[in-house]
Amino acid sequence: MKISGNKLFVTALKKEGVDTIFGYPGGMVVNLLDELYNAPGINMVLPRHEQGLIHAADGYARATGKVGVCLVTSGPGATNLVTGIANANYDSIPLVCFTGQVPEYLIGNDAFQEVDIVGITRNVAKFVIMVRDREMLAQRIKEAFYIARSGKPGPVLVDLPADVMAELGSTSYPTEVTIRGYKPNTSIHIGQLKKALTLLKRAKKPMFLIGGGVNIARAQAELTELVEKLEIPVVTSVMGRGAIATDHPLYFGNIGMHGCFTANRIANECDLMVSIGCRFNDRVTGRIATFAPNAKIVHIDIESAAISRNIIVDIPIVSDAKLAITKMLELTKPMKHEKWVADIVKWQEKYPLSVDCNSGVNPQKIMETLNEIYADKDTIFTSDVGQHQMWANQYLRLDARHRLIQSGGLGTMGFGLPSAVGAKIGCQEKEVVSINGDGGFQMNMQELATGVVERLPLVNVILNNTFLGMVRQMQTQFHKGRFALTNLNCYKSETGEVINEGFEEMEYVPDFVKVAESYNSKGYRVTKDEDLKSTIEEARAYALEHKRPVIVECMVSPDQLVMPWIPGGKSFDDILL
């Protein structure tokens, strides 16, 4: 028997265990969609924009650990995915993105809705390919899922010309895959690890620097056990946040630009840095020459290309984080570093994190209120990008029951809401809260509709300061308060002049309460710290009762800065407190 490529596609998804597709229709996938119509066991989700779509698939993948699947049409459908592909690539998130393509005989003709999406995404994906031969379709899909989820995970794009998909061919789907140019590392070099452990034995002031790799490997429990056994202080990157409970006595916060004083000082003073699953991004290191000046560095990463790229390390170890941590547990004896830890605790007491707030709602209080309300509930927080993200990093309490999903590497505004949609679809049993700025929320707020039709009780917190706060903060510090393009309520007069008055008097746009209402839901506005708890609780109750996303808009002063701050390219000594 012979079947069309479109039919085989459905078989392939089932064989790969796909239960959810984030899809948007178009001319070049309409036949494919017809095969998926009523396909049992596959939940089809229709987001309202392809960027929201891929962030939703991304949030789904991060929340579940499964591969997120996107299906969009050719041309604009495909190009709207690009930001989301890059976002998943830099945070190592497994996605398979299927894009419709014009029939092969039209390729190169500037046909309607034709773009070279393989060429466009080549440098921002783990792997991209166009299926040019019907008989290769099954193998290419198999390879796509394998590449996306193995090794260092990442997004894979498979471009599907309509004629190839219509062609009749074999029904079989391979059970195994071997790719001669792709052999992800599944072992660890014990000799290298033993060298690292020798350094560890000698070290007086060791530290762990934990990156997103530990969260991706889901090795949080093992890490905690190792940290306790060796009594070594831990700091994390943004992507590593939550790899160990944030209230653990040996955890001292995020390192880097908006990390805390203590975490950065630990890096500055340590004599051994053991980094697991962190690629020493510039936001982590600041000025390379002065980063961890006294330390020997052990770098464990699944990707050999991540090692000795930014920082030259003493002991490189290529390994999956979970495997490395498990082996370290096997090969080490308990250690004590009482004096070193006691010193660190003193720094922490001297320089605690806190927001100095004179007007508007206190961002720290917002996060602490969320901690309080969701303390006993399994919760996924998602964050957009900007000041609110840094406050979420600084003040949200994360542990085995409370996870934070955020755009780390690419810093993609508009990620918060759609990723919450995807996370909730993947984890119905958990509560999902998105934390956003007023700028980022507007980038994908159409996804409220997806939340409504999918019946998702999401609480969307917006920290509204009517500015693009993170950039405004730079303008405050380095550009004498000249707020070019950061005032979201910067009206022009009838003669075209800019009216730049204080934000309190400005007419205010959009009205997020009305935005929520226009999506048949409810919005709440908080202007005083005292109202935070009752309002968020009320909003949560409404969301759960009516099974739809709600908005809680908290009015924050634009003068509020994220502190501490090591400005880009600077050293620990330049930290602004």
Binding site: R122, N123, K126, R180, G181, A305, S308, R309, I312
Partner: protein
């Protein structure tokens, strides 16, 4: 800290890649996207029609070159990478050098130069000569430099370097 040299040096890589549409573009655009400068790149099908072999020449310091090799290895399309910078190889480039407006006397000189450099005259006109030289990149550079000093109206086409590992010879 590990000893690394930050001196720029000429490097050679021999790559086995999948023989598919877009693989050449994949390699070239990865290199461009990461600001690695390619001096020369050649590609062609091998004895196995599903595999192409590329020879890439570039100049870089040690840390950058290490990173380039890792990034190339990361590409799913790359089957195998050989660093042949210091390996015994046979390495040749084809050069076409066309000289216009040359006198009878100058033609004699061109033929003498060709003999010394091991180039061949493969085409001929009333006042023009076409030379072909299959030699190392360095030798072709020397030939071009010499001819450019003397002749003004010229055309140069270089094929890029191809390399293969030696069997028993240890000299390049």
């Amino acid at each position: 800290m590990r000893e690394v040299s930050n001196i720029k040096k000429k490097r050679w890589v021999s790559l086995y890649v999948e023989n598919r549409i877009g693989v050449m573009a994949r390699i070239a655009s990865m290199m461009a996207g990461k600001s690695y400068n390619i001096d020369s790149i050649t590609v062609g099908k091998t004895e196995d029609p599903t595999v192409s072999r590329m020879t890439i020449g570039l100049s870089s310091d040690d840390p950058t070159f290490e990173q380039i090799k890792k990034q190339l290895n990361r590409c799913v399309e790359v089957i195998k990478l050989n660093d042949i910078t210091d390996a015994p190889t046979h390495m040749k480039e084809i050069l076409f050098f066309k000289i216009h407006d040359c006198s009878e006397f100058e033609k004699g000189e061109i033929f003498r130069i060709a003999t010394v450099f091991g180039a061949k005259a493969i085409d001929y006109g009333i006042d023009s000569v076409l030379l072909e030289c299959v030699a190392t990149e360095g030798k072709n550079n020397d030939l071009i430099k010499l001819l450019m000093e003397k002749f003004k109206k010229v055309e140069v086409v270089r094929g890029g370097i191809v390399a293969i590992e030696s069997i028993s010879m240890t000299d390049r």
